[in-house]
């Protein structure tokens, strides 16, 4: 045999090589050992279940469509009239969209722990994809148009919650949950920066009218601005105020209560 290395040499070299590899790999984080998860329970065998069935770990897509009385919002140029007869345009809609929580057929809540900042005029932000959604039979979904009290009151976070996005009150530290502004009929501006834990607008939507089975369903939601100004109480620009700038302004409680039914499910695609 005319091997370049003798058997002895190659043994030494091999062991050196192995140690070398080990030296390199030992600097990385220890690899997470994946244990096969037991097969998911076949929720879809639940008799007569209506709602959304996600048979295995999947993806949830959510599109938010901004509307006024069911019609798509036209920014700046179109005049809108609310229940209190205020006439106004809409210039900007920006808001948090977080704590998407699926509730299964046993009433158990699964919080997908997501934080998004949506800008109605930027379609890149109004379509959301949430991965690693656990399998289950889901009968309702809850979404917070804001930030939960834990994140609202402590620390700083990167990403959607970065205070640099200016959806953050620095003089009274906490997040602006929902911002909408525009002009009223006399040309003056109205501006509502809504926030505060007290009336955090959790929107809960029933899914039982649907019968969809998919590992990556798409929820098409409508966000109807008209509902900010009615249900349960009529909000009038004239009597309740043209501006909200803190979580303690007088108008904020009424608006916060109205915002609990801003979101509606328009359709769900498998």
């Amino acid at each position: 045999m005319n091997n370049f290395f003798s058997a002895k040499q190659s043994l030494v070299l091999t062991s050196f090589y192995c140690l070398f590899c080990f030296a390199i790999s030992s600097c990385k984080d220890p690899e997470i050992i994946k244990i096969d998860t037991p097969p998911a329970e076949r929720w879809d065998t639940v008799t007569n279940f209506t709602g959304i069935i996600i048979p295995e770990t999947g993806v949830l897509n959510i599109n938010v469509n901004y509307e006024f009385k069911g019609e798509p919002i036209v920014f700046n140029t179109k005049n809108y009239v609310n229940a209190a007869n205020d006439t106004f345009t809409i210039r900007e809609i920006k808001h948090y969209f977080s704590n998407v929580t699926l509730i299964n057929h046993e009433g158990k809540s699964i919080n997908l722990n997501n934080y998004h900042l949506l800008d109605a005029s930027n379609a890149n932000t109004t379509s959301i994809t949430i991965t690693n959604v656990p399998p289950g039979n889901y009968k309702s979904v809850s979404i917070l148009l804001g930030v939960d009290s834990v994140r609202n009151h402590s620390g700083l976070q990167e990403g959607a919650l970065d205070p640099a996005w200016s959806m953050f009150w620095t003089w009274n530290t906490g997040y602006i949950f929902f911002r909408i502004n525009g002009l009223i009929s006399n040309g003056e501006a109205y501006t509502f920066d809504v926030g505060g834990d007290k009336h955090a607008p959790y929107n809960v939507m029933d899914l039982s009218a649907f019968k969809v089975k998919s590992i990556d369903p798409t929820f098409n939601l409508g966000l109807d601005i008209n509902e900010m100004y009615q249900n349960p109480e009529v909000y009038s620009f004239k009597t309740d105020g043209f501006s909200i700038h803190s979580d303690t302004d007088p108008g904020v409680n009424k608006m916060g209560r109205n915002m609990k039914d801003l979101l509606k499910i328009k359709s769900i695609a498998p």
Binding site: S15, S154, P163, A164, T170, T173, G174, S246
Partner: protein, 359 residues
């Protein structure tokens, strides 16, 4: 095993050990360095530790970076002022001007607060209202953002423009990498670094502290003043902490009776609760010789004026603190001139010249 093999295995093992140290091969002097920062908290009565946010542990590199940022005018819109412009070390990180002037020449309406022994607020004030005169900030990290974009302070249009300047800078990307593991600068890392520096500002070496440590004796006048401070005679201790607390503030909010109709709504601006009208954060009594003028509006320029105010000048109002109003019926504290002098000497014993860099 042959010697050769032992040598090779040994060499490989040595390499294995070395390979796990921080980039000795590349020699990157700005490799991530998580060496913890050792807080200089004295071992004396009341000097307990304070909570540090789990997501912002203090490191030597983080505190150093925070210090550099604190004193760098790059943070202001026109490169004219740093945090240290209005929080000057010589003034115990306060401002000797009644109201500070912003980057664009605007003047504020409250006196710059001194910065030291801040983080004990996280231990002794468990509300969401901890920092600023009116309690508007819940923690030090969050507090950092405000002055950067306040139009009458550093006046940046937004935080992103500041981040962009730092990112283009010749040193900062490296310093952020060393402190946080990545040279991608964010507002969160900026705030964390400055908060780390602020937590490191501990003032604990006054004559009072030396007396507590038995390194010196209190003068008779200081001793008398301490008694006035810590008894009903002066009644200072209810808000400014008692003998067991070395901080000389309760980290809370009170209306000390400056005005019958407070012009600044104070804590109420934040909470919108009527009972918080005119309440301001209790400032610490440490380093008073360096922090003049006094009160949230800087109305008093000398400590004797302050003492005289508490002695005879407090005003009634619906939210005035009970510790102030309880002396109204007898026309104030009725301290004698020598008692006032003793109180002054006690207050002066709380000065820490080391901290402000004078010694």
């Amino acid at each position: 095993m042959s010697l050769k093999k032992i040598f090779i295995v040994g060499a490989a093992l040595t390499f294995l050990v070395i390979a796990c140290k921080k980039d000795p091969q590349t020699g990157d002097p700005f490799a991530y360095d998580p060496t913890p920062y050792q807080l200089k908290i004295p071992k004396a009565v009341g000097w307990t530790s304070f909570p540090i946010p789990a997501d912002n542990p203090m490191t030597v590199a983080g505190v150093e970076l925070g210090k550099k940022l604190f004193f760098d005018p790059i943070l202001s819109v026109n490169n004219t002022q740093s945090c240290g412009s209005c929080h000057q070390q010589i003034s115990s990180f306060s401002d000797n001007r009644k109201f500070s002037m912003g980057a664009l020449g605007d003047v504020g309406h409250r006196q710059a607060m001194p910065l030291f022994n801040l983080a004990w607020a996280d231990k002794y004030n468990l509300t969401n209202h901890k920092y600023f005169w009116d309690g508007g900030a819940t923690d030090l990290e969050r507090q950092v953002i405000g002055p950067i974009i306040n139009p009458i302070e550093m006046a940046n249009p937004d935080v992103f423009s500041v981040i962009a300047r730092l990112q283009k800078h010749s040193e900062y990307p490296n310093l952020f990498r060393r402190a946080f593991g990545s040279d991608s600068i964010t507002s969160v890392k900026l705030a964390k670094a400055i908060a780390q520096f602020e937590r490191s500002l501990i003032s604990s070496n006054s004559n009072f502290d030396k007396a507590e440590r038995r390194e010196r004796l209190r003068t008779e006048s200081e001793r008398n003043g301490f008694i006035i401070f810590s008894t009903e005679k002066g009644d200072c201790f209810h808000c400014h902490g008692n003998a067991g607390s070395p901080f000389f503030t309760d980290f809370r909010f009170h209306n000390n009776g400056l005005e019958e109709m407070p012009k600044d709504s104070g804590l109420m601006r934040i909470t919108m609760r009527a009972e918080d009208f005119g309440l301001m954060k209790t400032p610490t009594l440490r380093n008073l010789s360096f922090t003049a003028p006094y009160m949230h509006d800087g109305r008093f320029s000398t400590l004797m004026e302050v003492i005289e105010f508490y002695n005879s000048g407090t005003k009634n109002s619906p939210t005035v603190d009970p510790m102030i109003s309880k002396n109204f019926h007898k026309g104030g504290l009725n301290l004698t001139p020598s008692e006032k002098n003793d109180l002054l000497n006690f207050l002066l014993s709380l000065n820490d010249s080391n901290f402000v860099g004078l010694k």
